[in-house]
Symmetry: none
Subunit: 234 residues, 4 copies
DNA sequence: CATGAATGAGCTTTCATTCAT
DNA sequence: CATGAATGAAAGCTCATTCAT
């Protein structure tokens, strides 16, 4: 590379003429020497890159650069781009699940609990935009990667299970309708939380540009709370 | 004029020796010479390909092959891959808009009209899966392509406008609540119609695989109708 | 093409929706209908484009666009890109020759005549930068195109012939040395006029950036006049 | 880690079916794995190819083939075609500079030293035709690449500096005129050496074909020596 | 004659992946 | 384990040129 032209990676040579200060040139990366750290770093970088550019748009080089590592390491730790992508998917599911299980809910208070669940879902989507784009990307691919993961399936049930308990209690307390399926309520909440954020850019071209403004978000949360409760309660 | 190089019908010659890099030889060989047909064919193919593979995954070659044309023609008619993609986006918006305007609604019957709108939206999404994946793709890119289109913006208002009229009538007839924004109702309907289909593959890994089954779709439609009406009516 | 994205050529369609004011759309170019004009326009455009971008860098499309014509016309009138290039070369030689023959010299006044020739050469190079870059381009190609032109050769002798006469008179009048070849004097003048301008960009990186400033040019002209006369006179 | 995609040694598979677009298969097959050698080989090949075909005419493929390497390596080491070209320019300047600094001159003998410099310049141009065509190419591009190189600028001053010393001594010894600028003398020498060779192909079409013959070169060297000395001495 | 659509080879660049130390 | 060099296919785009009205 020339001294001034921009380029991706700086390999060897180039500035050999300039008198190097350090005799031994210990620069190249301090030799990370920490397997787990390298692995995690790649995984984190990959989550970001895939979330931003999709599967095809997320190149191995972008990831390894973002992870301050090397392409080679991706193959070393994850076997292939696809393998890495699958682990990324597993990761976002796992973290979502963990966050949900940290929710301290009193299912004996179904109204409050339901409100808390709704708020949690909306909040989680807002704070984890990568969750949304990665799921969209995976759906573009018809879920073929997640299908290859055994682990991902484990993360499914808990979310529904909690909501099921709340519903049961609500029905028992005659607060909630008894003709609703937990799954539908789950989808209702997810739909309202997800779509608003997932499609905010194209919606902006439609409706005006305020969807992400704090008051707009608050307004939407109010609407969602109202709508779900109106649907669920008797 | 030059003495040696004016004939104008020399048979190319020149670089025949060079090993040809590109394959894709032969083709029936009858120059079609039909501008509009070629253009349309490319646009149709591009819609399919981008819908299936996303922007990065949808290669120019895939498109030109599907259109039974040549890479070159894409640049001839659309200037660039991005230019083509933008026209694809404009197309799906336009068609959605046209379909909606073909809806014969009696806004004086707000309940019926609202039900019709809901059914239309759900139906349209179901019958046009490319609409969903293309919008998701565009949102992955933060709407940067649609932002470049002047045309796309025109297609926004009508959808909301119709719903607004229905709402107005409903309120006037004391059937609907008067504290709702049209926009929120629009988002409610769109969310419930969109998310269910958009995320059906990852949801399947979660909930079981029947989301696309006819009875599952019918059940969901029932739930959506019920939920929206419950939200909107007094 | 999308409405906003930039592109080279605007073919068909695009703005069909917009109500066209002129019913018959007589726009596309007024149908030039003038063979010679088209031909000349292409030739002029080609001279500019080849002068600016060289032979390989000067694409047929750039030329036809600059000429407000069509690629096809280039083949119609010139047979090939090379044919057009050869005519361009012939043109710059011819015009140089014509300009030189318009010089009204009194060879009986050899000192004055020589000064006039020098000034003419320097002036011509300065006013016709395309002459320089086209010759450089042709020399890059080892003169293989000019070799194909019968006409070009005709333009050679006059330049030397005139200088020969001046030299002869100068020698006869005992003003000039008698041991010089006309050819060498010709090369001396050409070298000093050509190199300074031809290489002004790389020289600027070397010497500072004032080579094209009026006073710098004037200074150089003075130096050249002095040097040539010093060389030629006794 | 994923259960299905971690092996890391899967034999590629995937897109085997797709008709491959690029040829250039096979190669002895023994990965060379020698960074500096590869880099140098590319740089050498690029110097030749750019010198022969210009910037636009010098394709990446021509270069990589001549270097017995791969297109990809050019981007690996030089970032882009332009980056490679800039390094090529830096190289020819550097080598010219080094050669000049190897000239053992006795500036106390200004006449001899000046003659040596002239002979060196003429000789260097003759032996390094790539120097000439590359500079011409760079000037066609208005020096925009060299302007991007920080390094290139360093190579400028020495050439002038040496000549300056000679001039100073010559003036001090009353051998040389004292009203001359070093820069002009430098340009005089360079012009006479450069133009003759740079334009030899078009000149041949003009003057006859013997410019490169040994005796023609010798004659020109004599003329240049005589002319410069005549200009410089009192 | 002029216009514009079509063609296929070529271009620069980037991709995922593997080899060598 | 880490590092970096190598590889070949494919990407998006442009080229000169020809066919069809």
């Amino acid at each position: 590379m020339s001294s001034t032209a921009k380029s991706g990676r700086q390999p060897v040579a180039s500035k050999k003429a300039t008198a190097s200060k350090t005799g031994k040139t210990a620069k190249p990366g301090v030799r990370e020497q920490n397997a787990q750290a390298t692995r995690d770093s790649i995984l984190r970088a990959a989550t970001k890159v895939f979330a931003k550019h999709g599967y095809d748009g997320g190149s191995v080089e972008k990831i390894s650069t973002a992870a301050k590592s090397y392409d080679r390491m991706i193959y070393y730790y994850f076997g292939s781009k696809e393998g890495l992508y699958i682990e990324v998917l597993e990761g976002i599911y796992r973290r979502m699940n963990e966050a949900e299980s940290r929710l301290a809910l009193d299912v004996a208070q179904p109204l409050e609990a339901l409100r808390a669940v709704i708020r949690f879902v909306l909040d989680y989507y807002r704070k984890h935009p990568e969750f949304i784009t990665l799921l969209n990307t995976e759906n573009l691919h018809k879920g073929k990667h997640i299908a290859k993961s055994l682990r991902a399936r484990e993360y499914s049930s808990p979310a529904i299970a909690i909501l099921g308990e709340i519903m049961q209690n609500g029905v028992a307390q005659k607060l909630f309708r008894d003709d609703l399926q937990t799954r539908d309520v789950y989808l209702l909440i997810a739909s309202l939380g997800y779509f608003y954020l997932s499609n905010r850019y194209t919606l902006s071209a439609f409706l005006g540009d305020n969807l992400e403004a704090p008051d707009a978000l608050a307004h939407w949360e109010g609407f969602v709370l109202d709508t779900v409760l109106r649907t669920v309660t008797r």
